[in-house]
Symmetry: C2
Subunit: 666 residues, 2 copies
């Protein structure tokens, strides 16, 4: 076969594609990857364009057709069926036989003599037959023979314009003339929980049944029914390792500590061990294993906090002095953000002469907990460690354990957060925690779901964390907690709360202007009364139940902002293509006053008739409303219920001839 300099078809601007294919996009099992590209050749012939995909490491490509959307833009899709890594690429070639058929029809319409044309068509089929296996080769030759035989008859044979020979011919293109885009693009396929999860953060040491006692893993087990009953599926524990004594912080982050102060769990390491050890007062490794197993029986997965930093008492400091930065005075550099000092924490020096042994050891920390049944890790401050480390450690671990989930706790600049998501973190903390106005929230959700971020950055929305008590919660009280819960749980398919501080509406800051909690659990053992009658437990339980029963709330990128004429009312729709489920969430952002207004809905997008009433049901209360037309009235009183989660009934479920109701929800 003669080699041509390059095939004629050009493939450009493939999407999705992150940084020219440097990074994979993300999906969960069963999701679709919709691929678009500009595909064209010189001249005016028709093209065949196919999408190729396969799990990485398997030899065989699967094929999906791509269709022309217009303006040389082609589109196709495939489904990712198994956890791991997929790759995809596009192949295209000039469809000579298809072009010949289309032109033949035009010639016939113009009543031109097509005798020679038919011979050309037969030659094209014969050429394909030489590339086909025996059975199809016979068929192609047969088509060609029938066309040849009747070429001089004036009327061409039916076979020359039918679909069968075209379809068969298209399976055997000349490989020298195929363009295949390079490099193949990749998809990280995660298990479902990577895309849909409700996290509950809890300090095990505060789980003791009696105040003043240090909680244990055994005590935690007693809490599992409580956490599970609220509908959470991830139980996230702050670091469970031995806590250092040197420079231990006292209550409220005091630089001096008093006897009995437990220190912060993030000051990891003592003579009793480091990142692979358990703080003795929490129990044994067996107790931990038992907690993990019991949690699983309650539908909960335990997530561990991985904070790669050391207390001065960590065994690493003695055993691996090169892993730290030493100062000219013979001391180890502690953490600083000048002029602030964190004397109880030694950062690890990742780029040291013994970096290979360090990186292997840190990988082994993950491996150790994986060996004890943990598959979800919340990673503390990954943005202060080298990107290359994270890419290496996540990639190598996921090769062996593709079901691992890593949550990036990087509250830092946008590009850095995005990079960590690109290089492998499964989920990411976000700015949601600080976005309080309607405008800020809508802008942020648009950025997350309508830009490239939607392909690789999976947000996990947290209304509070042990570090962050946002001013809105401080000022707004219970209604603010309710509003933030509904926003987090319905805007993002992954969300979490730091409890029981959240459900108990704990909102006193250490001082005015601070977002630290007063008497923060980071520095002391708490004793929580979760049976308080004012607990948000019923609302949380209902919200998580709605999430589990809704397909639309299992996704994040399927959000459409709906117009309201009141800046304190935020409204957005979430839908599911397959089931036609349509939810409308409306939240009163004002925690003090009743707010009312008109919502303008896109009825076409909703699949709702313009002429008939339709029923919306508030899934939080069970109450139903009859609405009609695109504009409907909503009123929300924060003292009673600051949010609606409305299910919009399908057309058929609206009672025919129903009387026109006022449409208000109050």
């Amino acid at each position: 076969m003669n080699e041509y300099p390059a095939p004629r078809v050009v493939i450009e601007d493939i999407s999705p594609s992150i940084d020219c294919g440097r990074f994979p996009i993300k999906r969960v099992v069963g999701q679709h990857v919709e691929v678009q590209a500009d595909v064209f050749a010189d001249g005016h012939e028709e093209l065949t364009v196919v999408l190729q995909y396969r799990p990485v490491g398997t030899g065989k490509w699967f094929f999906a057709p791509m269709k022309h959307l217009g303006n040389d833009k082609w589109q196709g899709w495939f489904e990712v069926a198994c956890v791991g890594e997929y790759e995809y690429t596009i192949s295209a070639w000039v469809d000579s036989f298809g072009t010949w058929q289309s032109r033949l029809l035009k010639r016939l319409e113009a009543r031109q003599d097509v005798t020679v044309e038919l011979l050309i068509g037969a030659e094209l089929l014969e050429a394909a037959s030489r590339r086909a296996p025996r059975h199809d080769a016979f068929k192609l030759q047969d088509y060609a023979r029938r066309i040849r035989q009747e070429s001089g008859n004036g009327t061409p044979p039916e076979v020359s314009v039918s679909a069968e020979p075209r379809e068969l011919e298209s399976r055997y293109p000349d490989e020298n003339l195929i363009t295949t885009s390079t490099p193949a693009l990749r998809v990280t396929v995660d298990r479902e929980r990577a895309g849909f999860s409700a996290w509950y953060e809890m300090f095990p040491r505060s789980c003791a049944p009696e105040a003043g006692q240090h909680g244990t893993f055994k005590d935690c087990e007693a809490w599992l029914p409580y956490v599970a009953s609220m509908g959470f599926d991830v139980l996230y524990l702050p670091p469970i390792h031995p806590i250092g004594m040197t420079a231990r912080k006292g209550r409220n982050n005091s630089v001096t500590f008093e006897k009995g102060d437990p220190g912060t769990p993030w000051a990891i390491g003592s003579p009793e061990g480091g990142h692979k050890s358990i703080h003795p007062e929490l129990g044994s490794l067996e107790d931990f294993q038992s907690l993990v197993d019991s949690a699983r029986n309650h539908g909960l997965e335990v997530a561990l906090d991985i904070a790669f930093q050391c207390s001065p008492d960590h065994p690493y400091v003695q055993q691996h002095p090169k892993w730290f930065r030493w100062r000219p005075d013979g001391t180890v550099q502690y953490a600083e953000n000048p002029p602030k000092k964190y004397q109880d924490i030694y950062p690890i020096e990742f780029m040291n002469d013994e970096w290979e042994s360090l990186w292997q050891e840190l990988r082994d920390v993950f491996q150790f907990w994986i060996d004890h049944g943990v598959r979800i890790f919340r990673v503390d401050n990954p943005h202060t460690k080298p990107f290359a480390f994270w890419e290496w450690v996540i990639t190598t671990l996921k090769q062996e354990y593709p079901d691992l989930i890593f949550l990036s706790e990087a509250f830092t600049r946008p590009r850095v957060m995005a990079r960590l998501a690109k290089l492998g973190f499964t989920q990411s903390y976000t700015y949601f925690t600080w976005r309080r106005s309607k405008w800020e929230l809508l802008e942020y959700i648009t950025e997350l779901t309508r830009t490239d971020l939607a392909e690789y950055f999976r947000p996990n929305f947290w209304p509070n964390t042990p570090d962050i008590l946002m001013d809105y919660l401080q000022e707004g009280g219970r209604a603010a907690f309710e509003a933030r819960l509904v926003l987090a749980a319905t805007l993002s398919s992954n969300y979490g709360i730091y409890g029981p501080a959240f459900e108990l509406c704990v909102n006193t800051p250490r001082e005015h202007g601070s977002e630290e909690y007063l008497d923060s659990e980071k520095y002391e053992i708490k004793h929580w009364n979760v049976d308080s009658p004012t607990s948000l437990r019923p609302l949380i339980t209902r919200v998580n139940q709605i999430r589990r029963e809704s397909v639309a709330l299992r996704q994040t990128n399927n959000v459409a902002i709906e117009h309201t004429d009141n800046d304190m009312l935020i409204a957005y729709r979430k839908w599911d293509e397959e089931t036609s489920e349509q939810l409308l969430i409306v939240v009163n952002m004002d925690p003090r006053f009743r707010q009312a207004g008109w919502i303008t809905l896109d009825l076409n997008a909703l699949g709702v008739s313009h002429e008939r009433t339709f029923v919306v049901e508030d899934l939080l209360t069970g109450q139903t409303y009859e609405w009609s037309g695109s504009r409907n009235y909503v009123a929300l009183d924060p003292s009673r219920q600051p949010a609606h989660i409305l299910r919009i009934a399908t057309l058929s479920s609206a009672a025919p001839g129903a009387t026109q109701a006022s449409g208000g929800t109050r």
Copy 2:
């Protein structure tokens, strides 16, 4: 030196960058390349970011600093000083000493003891000294010694916080810790005419002094003063080769020709020769050479039309039968767009078994005319030949002759036109020819100048061509020609007309609904009376003069659309950063009626005071107007003058205390 796994700094999203660096951007000599990128590292240290650039093939990189714009976006620029190809890339590293200095200042403000810190700073300078050549190494060691000596004194020495050691240290980063983006991105640097040119297309055979005669190159020479006097700088000739007899087209594209019909110049080739020969009636190769030389003396460059297709009589058909597509009946496939047939044209089959000899021969066609002094080629229908051919032929030719200019005549789909520009065409025909409404034009100019196209697609605006007499010219007459001229010549720095049909306002179509000229010059010899008193020659001359005197009109991407409240009035501003030149072009798109309206100007962008009047001068008429404020009145009567080219006087030139004028231009 210990090797680290990867440097800490990340460089992302470099712009400009076309298709991940697959194609170069374009500039002309002396222009700037402004480069932006996201650059960041883990942690919170400061970075040094530099732009590197060089002419390809030279060893030495030049460096330009990049500055932080915020949000991890960095910016820098360089100038391209010579014709050819440049490359650029970005290098970045953590600025340890700079970070140390900044933190030292914070520590000093907080009155912390800095004894040990000073020793650390000295160590950083000493480390740099080991990477520096002797002279600078001494300096760095000296800085370090002075810092060390006074480290215990309580107050740090001035040298520890001064700029000199920081600047010197930054010259000697640890190469293992530098991130350099790959691949290097490229710039095609063309000579000035690639970015600023006025083309005049003329059929040499219509240049005879007497009607009915076949014009010659000698006759053309007599036309040079006329063309040059109008201010054009490129004289573009349709194909000058022998024209075939077989299936020659008659007048008005008739399939039968009569004796004396000259045929179309695009039916190239006869027994007298092909693409390297001259149609005998035009003269000899020496005559052509003389025309090229004379033209140069008039400030005109001759551009040739390269149309890679053959008449059935072309010598290639006999000598290289494999270069054509043969049908089963033993005939050569002629050009078709079924059911339309072009029996006088054989397309070349680029992907044939002897493609290498074909491609070499076609390259030689360019080489032949290059050897005869031609440096500008208008390429006919490049979109019907393989992209790979154009990329190869343009790249190899420009390696030897970087001053070559190729104009792509691809009136086809957007992606195909863009691809041809990417792969090497210097300028491109555009949809301007058909964009008639204000809305269409503004949308198109925005697409050309505000998307990636601005980096590689240099538009060349043509109000007419021998193939295209747009309906607007047919209907609008003289005023339409005037309006289109001003639009073409001021929107795009490259433009051209097909004359003398244009300046004589020839506008009769072959039939209603056709955009072909009646009695088209493509099929017959014309005799033009360019001395007609109604010729647009004076306007064309003035417009080209304004273009030459204006810096703003030498660029295309520097256009800002200005609001008018009348949809028949289009207004746009062109400016030059360096000279502060500001032009405002206003065109009445209605060729029949006077149109008036208010223009809203961005006075801040103009550098004009809100409180004072300012003077605008119409460069077409010399008339001046006093305007004030952001809204000013304009009226244009197509029977008198359908356009303004207004120069906005700088602030200082407005007479202080001038009386407030009405501001109208009529």
